[in-house]
């Protein structure tokens, strides 16, 4: 059990770091006060990725965001991969480490997507054991991120906010609230995004994510939003952010843009928009 100590990230805008933005970001970060990197992209022995990361860490706080621990997986954590994550965090000393309420590894196969799990007593116990193992290996509190969902499981017996709150209670972890994921899941599964954030354990939130989504339809003609991270943050997601910030106060807010990555000024403008939302609650 790790005690909640608040976030070491600044309550300011950050961006998901892309190598192509390195020079522009170092020359003029604009509103951006911190960056987040995907842990698995920096596990080589050396080379340009590690050099850029070291230079960034000299300049501003870095958040390490794992995408490969498979915390929601049905099997044991991959001990070798957990050791890689622990080594990266020990070398870098990031301001935050976060992972996902999802699975990506089955037996020995890594499927490279954030896959969903049912919310039951059994999965709750397993996720908590995995969060405990990660926090023990890293010697620090981690943040766990709510997923974007395209479907639900008939066997689920917990709501997602309650499931996450119980993980916080049992493990002492913090939460990463992805507001775009809330909106995507709400549209896809037909619940109220406002009711979701109102039920969310906001006191445990150490970081907020925003990103863009695409719109599609399923075979019944129902809207199906895809969490693509490939465009600007949608207006209803900004409105949902305002609702969250009105309750949390200023918090670290990250813009994720992972596909069709734009030129730096476009991403910097999104970060500035997050900065304006933060100023309204300062």
């Amino acid at each position: 059990m790790f005690d909640w100590n608040g976030s070491e990230l600044p309550a300011a805008p950050g961006v998901g770091f892309k190598a192509r933005h390195f020079e522009a970001l170092m020359a003029d970060p604009g509103a951006v006060r911190w960056v987040e990197v995907h842990a698995e992209n920096y596990m080589g022995a050396g080379g340009r990725p590690r050099a850029q990361l070291a230079a960034l860490a000299e300049r501003m706080p870095v958040s390490v965001h794992g995408v490969g621990l498979s915390i929601g997986g049905s099997g044991a954590l991959d001990a070798r991969h957990l050791a890689r994550v622990a080594r990266l965090c020990a070398e870098l000393g990031p301001a935050s480490f976060s992972e996902h309420l999802a699975w990506s590894t089955h037996e020995t196969e890594f499927l490279n997507d954030l896959l969903p799990l049912p919310y039951t007593e059994a999965t709750l116990a397993r996720v908590c054991a995995h969060v405990d193992a990660v926090q023990d290996a890293l010697g620090r509190r981690m943040l766990l991120e709510n997923p974007s969902s395209y479907l639900a499981f008939t066997e689920s017996t917990w709501s997602e906010p309650d499931f996450l709150a119980e993980i916080v209670r049992r493990t002492g972890c913090g939460l990463l609230l992805d507001v775009n994921n809330v909106f995507v899941s709400a549209v896809n599964l037909g619940f109220s995004p406002e009711a979701y954030v109102d039920a969310f354990p906001l006191g445990a939130v150490g970081e907020i994510h925003l990103g863009g989504h695409d719109a599609d339809r399923d075979e019944h003609g129902a809207p199906l939003l895809i969490d693509s991270h490939g465009r600007e943050v949608a207006d209803p997601v900004w409105a949902l952010l305002d609702r969250v910030l009105a309750r949390t106060g200023p918090a670290p807010v990250l813009i994720e843009w992972d596909t069709g990555v734009p030129d730096w000024p476009v991403l910097a403008a999104e970060a500035a928009r997050a900065g304006a939302a933060l100023e309204r609650v300062a």
Binding site: L151, F153, H220
Partner: protein
């Protein structure tokens, strides 16, 4: 089959049924929704192979490459979340089902990628070599950088790579009849580049890497006169991590 195993089974097998117990939130069938995950998995793995094998993709063309990549990804998903290492089996896969040069070009792409992520080094000060007499030079131990990669091929790989990346596609290439091309990948700063070596050059560099003296290693060279050029290639790339006289 467990729920997770059923969910996993359909992700890499397009003929597998949609797993039971999934709904759209209103109690309806969720086939299209499950297909989003199936598509995400295969599309992201194909994208990882595109990023990892750029010259093979340019040589085969995007459609043919993607078809090979999709088949490979379904048969051989990654064994590690570190995708910078994904696809080490792709060259031998291509060798069984693609034009003859594709497997070897994939080995070159893989060597470039490994070099890119290899441990850093500080280029050794080469000035000591300029003042060394002949016997001292021959007894010297030159340690190549950790980013050195070596490969040999029956194909003119560097010309094939240039043609592919130049956008002209790969000409109807045939395996060379002569000795195999020997290639060293050397990292200049952060950027790996392939260099064609003189005959015996790959064995010479492998001997240096194994700790042999320069004199011993150079006996692998078919043409002793190639020695000076090989040394200057290494020095101008800053590809030596240590020089011990």
């Amino acid at each position: 089959m467990s729920a997770a195993a059923a969910f996993r089974a359909g992700l890499l097998d397009p003929a597998a049924p949609v797993p039971p117990g999934l709904t759209d939130g209103a109690g309806r069938h969720a086939a299209r929704r499950y297909a989003v995950y199936r598509n995400n998995v295969t599309a992201s793995l194909v994208e990882a192979l595109r990023a990892g094998f750029p010259s093979v993709r340019a040589g085969l063309g995007p459609r043919a490459f993607d078809a090979h990549a999709l088949a490979f990804a379904r048969a051989h998903p990654p064994r590690s979340p570190v995708l910078a290492r994904y696809g080490d089996g792709f060259p031998s896969w291509l060798a069984t089902c693609a034009p003859g040069w594709a497997g070897d070009l994939a080995r070159l792409d893989l060597a470039l990628r490994e070099s890119y992520h290899a441990a850093d080094h500080v280029a050794a000060d080469a000035s000591v070599l300029a003042t060394a007499d002949g016997p001292t030079l021959m007894g010297a131990r030159l340690t190549p950088a950790p980013s050195l990669r070596l490969l040999t091929s029956r194909w003119s790989l560097l010309a094939l790579r240039d043609a592919a990346l130049g956008g002209g596609g790969v000409p109807m290439a045939a395996a060379e009849d002569g000795p195999p091309a020997e290639i060293a990948v050397l990292r200049h700063g952060w950027d790996p580049e392939p260099h064609l070596l003189p005959e015996g050059g790959a064995a010479t560099l492998a001997a240096l890497r194994a700790g042999r003296s320069l004199g011993e290693a150079a006996t692998w060279l078919r043409d002793p006169d190639a020695f000076g050029d090989l040394l200057s290639t290494l020095l101008s790339a800053g590809a030596l991590a240590a020089i011990e006289l």
